[in-house]
Amino acid sequence: MENNIIEVKNLTKKFKDLTAVDNISFNVKKGEIFAFLGPNGAGKSTTIKILTTLLPPTNGEIEIDGANPVTQQDKVRHSFGIVFQDPSLDDELTAYENLEFHGVLYKVPNPIRKQRIEELLRFVELWDRRNNLVKVFSGGMKRRLEIARGLLHHPKIFFLDEPTLGLDPQTRNHIWNYISNLNKKENITVFFTTHYMEEADKVAQKVAIIDHGKIIAQGNPAELKAQTKTKTLEEAFLALTGEKIRDEDAGSQDFLRQGRRMWHR
């Protein structure tokens, strides 16, 4: 269907003896806000990495804006912007320089680049701070800057991996306002993950819930609530995934996270 901007069919990803993503299929329509929910270790981040060309799939077919992330990497990479779960700005550069760098990498030609950087920095209300080093920014400011950066090359799809993690309610509210606005104004497709169910309930038009590598439910928030006879999406989520707490083994990434905290206070 040409109406779908993301098509995933029978996607599987195996790491040695672990099946992180187990034969999942879903579609995202052009202009839709799509929430990809699941407990820790369910396979969310792995799926995002595959969709964004960072990991090759073991099996399955994927189309991102009509291109294959394995064989047409550059085409796919041009089509999306991304805000990663962990901060990915250069702390030693200024806000402006971070965007400039992104613009050069994505080959946005110069007069347009300058104009867009200004537009976006104003959009996320950081224009006045453009010449400050990113290391003096708060968590919320960094996230806003990452959102501006992800939009600089005018992507058709915007991936956000837990964009509001660790932010206060004011900033979270602000960020979702930007994203909803953008979705309405530019008809950009938004694909996000979050652990805050009320966020998904509020902004997502479609939700997919993944657990143990399998998609266990899909639909709009109202359908999921009706299906589980619950009042909120959080209750629906718990009804579908169970109340057991998931323990993830600490990988090298968690060690690095600790190290980073120590280094950066």
């Binding site: 990991l55 962990d86 250069d90 030693e92 080959k107 950066r149 190290g259």
Partner: protein, 248 residues
């Protein structure tokens, strides 16, 4: 081309912005120069080998380039999961260009570091024998810098976290430095040590610097140049291959 330039520029900006890092990385070479240079100077003189400071400075320049360059490559481990590398890896540019830009940036910074050590050492009495050779001196500095920045990239591409960093310091960087002839002349060594020194790539860097700065060389400048150029190309190729295979 723009990709390479912007990555190179980033390394330079980061360097010039961390003045504490510039000063900090001058501490160690200065300590070596003062403590060893003046400490062993009299013995060296008595043994009839001449002025030890003169002898030592090229070795210490090579050392500070080695440390700075290798670390600039190894920084990729840090960047791998956090920070910038992720941003560059999803960008629609060939990874090869990212690797070149980073490596050349790290190498430029390390060369500057070497130049600073050279300038500082003239204040404690170091004399350059012929100023006309300065371009050759710079060439050797840059070759050492690219070589070890590329080696750093190779290591960083193979390792997953900073836990192993101490291992690299103790089993790679320190031996490279101590066995290179940075501190002692390579002639008249026991055979085993001499053999080790001749497979230590830094030996050729130190020798090249000594040759171009003082006009004394153990292997000969042409051999130094040849060995450094070939190994740099090899490590660069391996580095860019491994870098293209990095998974995050």
């Amino acid at each position: 081309m723009n990709t390479i330039y912007i990555l190179w520029l980033r390394q330079l900006k980061r360097y010039f912005r961390s003045r504490s890092r510039i000063l900090g990385s001058l501490g160690q070479p200065l300590l070596y120069l003062v403590a060893m240079g003046f400490g062993f100077g009299p013995i060296f003189q008595k043994a009839g080998a001449g002025n030890y400071i003169q002898f030592l400075v090229p070795g210490i320049i090579a050392m500070s380039i080695l440390f700075t360059a290798l670390f600039s490559g190894v920084e990729i481990i840090w960047d791998k999961q956090f920070g910038f590398l992720k941003e560059t890896l999803v960008a629609p540019v060939p990874r090869f260009e990212i690797m070149i830009g980073r490596t050349l940036g790290g190498a430029t910074v390390s060369t500057l570091q070497g130049v600073i050590v050279l300038v500082v050492s003239t204040f404690i009495g170091f004399k350059i024998s012929s100023l006309s050779m300065l371009s050759v001196v710079l060439l050797f500095m840059f070759l050492i810098a690219v070589l070890f920045a590329a080696l750093g990239t190779v290591i960083a591409s193979l390792l997953d976290d900073m836990q192993e960093f101490q291992l690299i310091m103790n089993f790679l960087v320190m031996p490279l430095f101590f066995l290179s002839g940075a501190l002692f002349p390579l002639s008249g060594l026991p055979t085993a040590l001499s053999a080790v020194a001749s497979i230590d790539l830094l030996s050729y860097g130190v020798d090249g610097l000594r040759g171009s700065l003082l006009g004394i060389s153990h292997f000969g400048l042409h051999i130094d140049l040849l060995v450094l150029t070939i190994t740099t190309l090899i490590l660069f190729t391996i580095g860019s291959y491994l870098f293209s295979k990095i998974k995050i």
